[in-house]
């Protein structure tokens, strides 16, 4: 019994080594790799290439209108013990949108896997849409986060754009 206790203490003190083999950073293999982020602020110039589509131009230096469909490319976040990952989308729905459409339902997918929906029927700033992400999905980065809106404001003579919601940031945490 005491031997088992000593062995357990030794294991804790000496540390649990990473059992998965490390792959070295090889110059030739890594040259084409880019350093993607898992948090995409739509105003951050470092991540403009991660905005795959469905976003209009930057406004107010901090936000963008979306179209009906929009998507971003995200890196997996590093694992943190006792922490399960989730997809977080910060956005706003202005009064004009609710007045015109009544409500907007947003549906999120990650690499094609549906994570859930949420219906917004009141105008609000900085709405946080959070959905848990299955751990298995994170093992194949980069990940494509796609969003679909059931209602959008159609183009008008004054504004030829299709207007959905106001995107601020999308992240895997």
């Amino acid at each position: 019994m005491s031997r088992i206790a000593i062995a357990l203490v030794a294991l804790v003190l000496l540390g649990c080594s990473n059992t998965e083999p490390l792959t070295p950073v090889d110059k030739a293999a890594e040259e084409r790799e880019t350093l993607l982020l898992s948090t995409v602020h739509v105003a951050d110039p470092r991540v403009f290439e991660q905005l795959l589509g469905g976003f209009h131009q930057l406004e107010g230096g901090s936000w963008r209108w979306t179209e009906r469909e929009f998507s971003v490319l995200l890196e997996s976040p590093p694992p943190v013990p006792l922490h399960s990952s989730s997809l977080e989308f910060h956005f706003s729905v202005p009064e004009a949108t609710i007045a015109a459409l009544g409500s907007v339902t947003i549906t999120a997918r990650l690499n094609g896997v549906e994570l859930g929906s949420e219906t917004i029927s009141e105008a609000a700033q900085d709405i946080v849409f959070i959905r848990p992400v299955p751990a298995a999905l994170l093992e194949m980065p980069p990940l494509r986060a796609s969003f679909h809106l059931d209602n959008v404001m159609a183009p008008t003579p004054q504004d030829q754009r299709e207007l959905g919601i106001i995107a601020i940031s999308i992240a895997l945490r």
């Binding site: 649990c16 950073v25 090889d26 350093l35 898992s38 590093p78 943190v80």
Partner: protein, 303 residues
């Protein structure tokens, strides 16, 4: 005619000897210059997590600063005071981000930040520096994440950060120095050189500039500060004192490697020691066996 021929032969011999002496002299002369004139001067690199020191001049930190700034040409600093603090950072070229900095006596050709962590802010400075002799080199001032969500057991997150630094460094065609506070702690007391971030550096061809002396750099957490190099070899490493910080400072003289850097995983050193021990044991066994044979007078020795 004969005299002329003799003279010419004699003259030819003299000329050959003179030419030989001249050639030898030139060889010695040129080798002297090859050895001394074109040898790049070592790059003196120091790394120190200053632990947000805010001591006034005259304190331990100021003494350490004076020492480092007199002994080093390039400094990788973490948790360092802002540049407008009391520490005299004039006469240095610098890159500063948050509390991480690179200071250089020599011109910085190019600099920037690497987003070391994809999920949370961890932008670390790098700089390409042109020394007076030898090739330009790149240095990163590293401060890997210590704690997230209350837990310091982030070995894999730190490995991700180290990997992103190395991927960024792989775009530079020259020697690289990765120096700073790697927070290479493991579970409870484990970790250190076996931490995944450190293992990754070693597997990727980087070598520990302070391998010859080792030692802990943090009183509680052990060896968590490192200077790792690729394409440079280290001489005269120094592990300094705490000087008011909770980290010791590190210093190494780095010179361009003549050959490609040798990949030395941690276990290699242990394997070498083990091989040496086994060899020594084997040899001592043979000696003992031989002495016994001689003492007992075996048939072979009787012959």
């Amino acid at each position: 005619m004969q005299v002329c021929a003799l003279f010419s032969r004699h003259g030819a011999g003299l000329a050959r000897r003179a030419a030989l002496r001249l050639a030898l002299a030139l060889l010695a002369f040129s080798s002297f210059f090859v050895a001394t004139g074109t040898e790049p001067i070592p790059i003196r690199v120091a790394s120190w997590n200053m632990g947000d020191l805010s001591e006034r001049p005259g304190g331990k930190a100021a003494h350490a600063w004076d020492l480092l700034s007199s002994k080093a040409d390039v400094l990788a600093l973490q948790e360092c005071p802002t540049p407008d603090s009391s520490l005299d950072q004039q006469e240095w070229y610098g890159v500063y981000e948050h509390s991480n900095a690179i200071l250089s006596r020599w011109p910085i050709i190019q600099s920037g930040l690497v987003a070391a962590n994809p999920a949370w802010p961890r932008d670390l400075p790098w700089a390409d520096i042109e020394p007076p002799s030898g090739p330009a080199f790149r240095i990163y001032s590293v401060h890997l994440t210590f704690r997230r969500g209350g837990t310091p057991f982030l070995a894999q997150a730190r490995e991700v950060e180290a990997r992103r630094i190395l991927i960024h460094a792989s775009g530079f065609d020259g020697p690289v120095v990765v120096a700073g506070d790697f927070n290479s702690i493991g579970w409870i007391l484990g970790g250190q050189a076996s931490a995944p971030a450190i293992q990754l550096l070693q597997l990727s061809g980087y070598t520990d500039a302070l391998a010859a002396i080792g030692g802990r750099t943090h009183a509680l957490l052990g060896r968590i500060d490192w200077i790792y190099t690729n394409g440079l070899h280290s001489t005269e490493p120094i592990l300094g004192d705490y000087a008011g910080s909770d980290h010791r400072w590190l210093l190494a003289n780095l010179s361009p490697s003549k050959d490609d850097p040798v990949q030395v995983p941690t276990s290699a050193g242990n394997n070498s020691v083990a091989l040496l021990a086994v060899t020594a044991l084997g040899l001592s066994g043979i000696v003992v066996w031989w002495k016994r044979r001689v003492r007992l007078g075996s048939p072979t020795s009787a012959d």
